[in-house]
Amino acid sequence: MNKWKSKQPVTIKPFRRPSLAGDGYGGRALFFLSRAITNIRQNVFVNVVTIGTITLALLIVSLFLLIFVNLENAAENWSERVQVTVYFDRELTPQDQTSFRGKISALSGVSRVSYVSRDEALKRFKSRLRGQETLLEGVRPEVLPTSLEITLKRTHRDTVTVESFVTTLKRIPGITEVQYGEEWVRRFNSFLNFMRLVGALLGGFLIIAVIFIVSNTIKLTIYSRRDELEVMSLVGATRFFIKAPFLLEGLIQGLAGAMISTLLLFGFFEGFLQNAGSFITFNPTTSGLSFLPGEYIAGILLAGAVLGFIGSLTSLKRFISV
């Protein structure tokens, strides 16, 4: 520093910051923030364009997320049907029931075991043939098997786990006949995997497109203000001093865009989607879609802020050559 010092007295020491009012880190931070807000007010059009682009981009991504989350929920409901049934050709005594339940529940992945007696089985049979009960005339409960129905935990519903579960189940003495709708489980799981793959691919493309569009918009808006960068650099502003207000501006733009897009999505959801979703779930008991969970919304807000910040950072790098 001293090597720059002029021998003659100079009224202002050129590059040491005078400690005047509003100095210190807090003063600096406040200065940058007020500079960023003034910049936004002085460049309304450019800011509206940037915030609009970020809003639309994040709206597309969050709409996609909303659909994806609801499809996952629907799949969750469908997978309840993955059930393993053990058949017996005799009515189980209460002691037998307890002992089988105990042995089966001890296996990993079991969420619920319920006993279906012959009477219960006949009742179900009848309800399935509603309107054609005459077909069942003369059918007595004794001809139907009794069974234990085993529901598996969510994490144990894929093909491989179900198959290995059945193998273990068959080792329990007294259990001979086991059914679990092999074909259905297999198809359901391959459908689920396919859906996730397509989702990941589409989501990936979407995110790349969004990053591309947003970063180019920010680049253009900063390009339109390159004279500001040039003047700042001419009067001796450090890179940090030039960049900080722009970065804060990017952060504010990103957050604002994310908030607006979340609000728009919520309005859209409340207005149209909420009650129109039963066709996706195919399940009358869970009619309607659910909105994005809190952590997704936090994620979108964070993504907006990061998008604005990183977009500004990379664009500034191109235009600040000192």
């Binding site: 720059w4 202002i12 005078p18 700042m232 009067v235 001796g236 450090t238 000192v322």
Partner: protein, 230 residues
């Protein structure tokens, strides 16, 4: 204050902008750089405020070699140098006051002091009543005075001007020249690049003529008494 030793500068391999230039400008001097377009005036000025680095040779400002400054040192150099251009380089979306205050904001001055100092220099330039206008609404001469206010508000050691009167009429040229001379009297070293012969002749200052990147002529200050008129 300013010394150039065997400085050569080439934008591309074949075309050289400056060729083996040796130059010494003392503290508090007032110098005109002249020459036809492409003679190297602008390149020389750009070397002095660190916008370019020479391919060969050394540039010294106040005894400090600035030929190989790092990116973080260049702002420190520029805080001691004021620069004005033919196209003024004012920010149209800020007021006259804000355009001038930038220099002091960069130095980290407090709000109240920036206000006082900025209004003071605007008054010196005779444009204090226009402080809240956009530069677009000022005449060319007034805009150049805003640019000069921005360059001079922190009392720089050196003032560099690149064709400062290129866009101005005679009355405004004289006003701008007066401001240069006043800054010079207060101790600022002034280097003005221009091909305005009349401006050079009426101010009787040291004159350096460039031709194709080389110094071809140096005329020392003609009469010492001229300075006393200001």
């Amino acid at each position: 204050m300013i010394q150039l030793h065997n400085v050569s500068l080439a934008y591309q391999q074949d075309a050289s902008a400056l060729n083996n230039v040796n130059l010494s400008i003392g503290k508090g001097e007032f110098v005109f750089l002249t020459g036809s377009s492409g003679a190297g005036k602008t390149s020389l000025l750009r070397l002095l405020y660190g916008a370019l680095t020479p391919n060969r040779g050394e540039v010294l400002i106040d005894g400090q070699n600035i030929s190989h400054l790092s990116a973080s040192q260049i702002p420190l150099l520029r805080r001691t140098i004021g620069v004005v251009f033919q196209d003024f380089k004012l920010l149209q979306n800020r007021t006259v006051f804000e355009n001038v205050a930038i220099t002091l904001e960069v130095l980290g001055w407090g709000r109240a002091d920036i206000g006082k100092k900025t209004m003071h220099i605007l008054k010196q330039m005779g444009i204090e009543s226009k402080y809240n206008l956009s530069p677009q609404r000022l005449s060319g001469g007034e805009q150049q005075r805003v640019a000069l206010a921005r360059a001079l508000v922190n009392d720089p050691k050196i003032l560099l001007a690149d064709e400062p009167t290129g866009n101005l009429d005679d009355a405004n040229k004289n006003q701008i020249l007066t401001i240069f001379k006043e800054a010079n009297i207060r101790g600022t070293t002034v280097v003005v690049a221009t091909h305005d012969r009349r401006l050079i002749e009426q101010s009787h200052k040291r004159l350096i003529t460039l031709f194709k990147g080389e110094i071809v002529e140096q005329v020392e200050k003609q009469t010492a008494s001229d300075d006393q008129t200001f």
